[in-house]
């Protein structure tokens, strides 16, 4: 397993603040370091700011009237905040957006091919297409369907496959497991792992499914209300009792049945 301390930092987020619509302050000073060749997980509850962080990195905030007002984002040591999102993809950073965002009117295969938009090596593209189809045989069956008509899970596969098609150096994955069948969730993380190990692709993933995420990630950050409240190597986080209780749903007696959680608990306030 990779150790964060030893490798160089590929992506660095320094104390950023994000404001939507000029008034809504969402991130209140978030800092992250993503090591090259590692899998870093970004955890946290609803509305913690995971998606916002990823969008800030990939420069997609502008199109949502959001803005990084403080701090800096460095990729390979260079400031990338002011780049065009497309330029960032050329640098090798690609994002899989939350909520799929397939191109509805394009077929599944066309969607995947658009992923390779920035590439010119036709032969390799075809090979990668085959690779994606081996990862997701379901997509091969539906390759000629318009993506808008495919099921939720199929769309999620398209989104991930599309990102893989661009042969990136870094992938920002926003909730990859959402809406996928259980064995597929494992499979996706296996793919992440494989791509990470074989091709050295760096991952930063935002995930609600903490359980799986912490099993595959090397390092984790926990975000609450726009602040990083805890970070550490994945295995340490897994052992942390608070994380266990709130993110893994385990009490001292092991996993509780969802039927038995009788009283609603107030969310624990982390010390910020």
């Amino acid at each position: 397993m990779l150790d964060a301390g030893k490798t160089e930092t590929l992506l660095e987020v320094n104390n950023i603040e994000v404001i939507y619509n000029h008034v809504i302050l969402v991130l209140k000073g978030v800092s992250l370091a993503v090591p090259k060749g590692g899998i870093t997980a970004l955890l946290g509850g609803n509305g913690a700011g995971k998606t916002t962080t990823l969008k800030a990195i990939s420069n997609l905030l502008h199109s949502e009237r959001g803005e990084v007002t403080k701090g800096s984002i460095l990729y390979r040591g260079e400031r990338v905040q002011d780049l065009d999102p497309a330029a960032l993809v050329k640098l090798g950073v690609i994002q899989v957006m939350e909520g799929r965002h397939c191109f509805e009117h394009l077929t599944v295969e066309e969607n995947l091919l658009t992923g390779a938009y920035t590439r010119t090596d036709t032969g390799a593209i075809a090979a990668d297409l085959d690779m994606v189809y081996t990862y997701f045989p379901r997509l091969k069956e539906r390759r000629r369907s318009q993506a808008g008509y495919t099921s939720g899970g199929e769309q999620q596969m398209v989104a991930i496959g599309r990102a893989l098609m661009s042969k990136p150096e870094t992938i920002l994955l926003d909730e990859p497991s959402m809406g996928l069948a259980p064995q597929l969730v494992e499979q996706i993380f296996e793919i992440v792992k494989a791509v990470n190990e074989k091709e050295g692709v760096t991952f930063l993933l935002a995930e609600q499914n903490t359980n799986v995420a912490l099993r595959y990630a090397h390092y984790g950050y926990i975000l609450e209300s726009g602040r990083v409240v805890m970070d550490g190597p994945a295995k340490d986080l897994r052992e942390n009792p608070d994380v266990k209780e709130f993110y893994l749903g385990m009490s001292d007696e092991g996993r509780k049945s969802f039927r038995d959680v009788r009283s609603y608990r107030r969310r624990k306030r982390w010390l910020a």
Binding site: I19, N21, H22, V23, I24, L25
Partner: protein, 358 residues
């Protein structure tokens, strides 16, 4: 802190759902109403009435109408000019056929007739959506204009096809025709606008409004949770056309006094009113007012500055004016795609936080 919300506690849902829940807003609203009713009429002259106030009031009615259809119900319409023409011609026929009836009744009936026509042209909206529908509404625009131009019955067989408003009065005061005074015209339009805006506000805050907005935001989901798209869309067409029809009737009878259908109610009018609601803010009654005010005032202002103050040649000024209006529209959309109403909301949100930046 200038703007306070805290301290305004509501103890009932009625209070909570009133139009201006914040006391400060409410006062400002009363101040504007008093100004409009009790001060303006004493100072208004022909120029201000005919060049600014009367068109503003009438356009505001039309803008509210279109906003109901487009802003609230999400059905983009480019047929507004045509529907205004229906209102105008209906009013003309009624005025000349029943000269002794109050013009107020004629205007309202004209609105009703337009509502009927609106429903008819709204029928395709059940199948056709988005820009296809927008373009399809042009069928109404062109057809109606053609009809009023072609069938002599509509213009009482006059030689040129123009219709001219004879003098008619409300409560003994002339509001149409040459001898109507500036303040009479102004107050007549103001009263109608006031009542209609209030009705529109009621409609949009309750069940009907929610149905419209549901169809606008996601028609399929709306249907699945129990909104009947047929009646909902048609009710929006009907209500919207009613407003637009009333505006058309006033536009012809009170404001211009004589119109030629292709010129006064052409497609340019449809676009103008669409502009008003977009610049003002889709889905906002206040936005309709703001948009109407902006687009009525801006050209007058620009003209007075460029020609009156700077002494430019009129054609240069007109070209530059066109460019400025166009550029301002774009700048507005870039600055705030949700219109002036949203700018206003954001400003309030900022004020609430003032002096802290966030």
């Amino acid at each position: 802190m200038f703007y306070r919300e805290a301290g305004d506690f509501k103890t009932s849902y009625v209070e909570d759902s009133q139009t201006f829940p914040i006391r400060f807003d409410r006062w400002r609203y009363y101040a504007v109403v008093i100004l409009a009713v009790a001060v303006v009429p004493f100072f208004i002259n022909d120029y201000w009435a005919n060049a600014v106030f009367v068109p503003f009031l009438i356009y505001a009615i039309a803008a509210i109408g279109l906003n109901i259809l487009t802003g609230y119900c999400g059905q983009v319409s480019l047929g507004t000019g045509g529907f205004m023409a229906v209102g105008a011609y209906a009013c003309y026929k009624l005025m000349t056929a029943f000269p002794d009836v109050s013009i107020l009744i004629h205007v309202l009936l004209a609105g009703g007739i337009t509502a009927g026509v609106g429903v008819l042209f709204g029928l395709p909206s059940l199948r056709i959506k988005g820009f296809y529908l927008a373009v399809a509404t042009l069928a109404a625009q062109f057809f109606l204009v053609w009809l009023f131009n072609k069938v002599p019955w509509f213009y009482n067989y006059s030689a040129s096809g123009q219709i001219s408003a004879p003098e008619r009065s409300v409560l003994g005061v002339a509001v149409t025709g040459a001898s109507a005074t500036a303040s009479a015209k102004y107050l007549f339009c103001l009263a109608i606008l006031f009542v209609l805006a209030w009705l529109a506000r009621n409609l949009t805050r309750g069940t009907v409004g929610r149905k419209w907005m549901a169809i606008r935001d996601m028609d399929i989901a709306a249907e699945i949770i129990g909104v009947n798209p047929l009646t909902t869309k048609l009710s929006a067409f009907a209500v919207s056309s009613f407003f637009v029809g009333v505006a058309g009737a006033l536009f012809f009878s009170v404001y211009l006094g004589a119109v030629e259908v292709g010129e006064a109610f052409g497609i340019q009018k449809s676009f103008l009113i669409l502009f008003m609601i977009i610049i003002g803010g889709l889905g906002s009654i206040f936005g309709s007012f703001a948009g109407a005010a902006f687009l009525v005032l801006l050209p007058v202002l620009l003209k007075n500055v460029l020609v009156g103050q700077l002494g430019w040649a009129t054609d240069l000024a007109a070209h530059v004016e066109l460019m400025i209006v166009g550029a301002l529209i774009v700048v507005f959309l870039i600055a705030e795609p949700h219109g002036m109403a949203q700018l206003w909301r954001l400003a309030k949100e900022k004020l609430r936080l003032w002096p802290f930046p966030h």
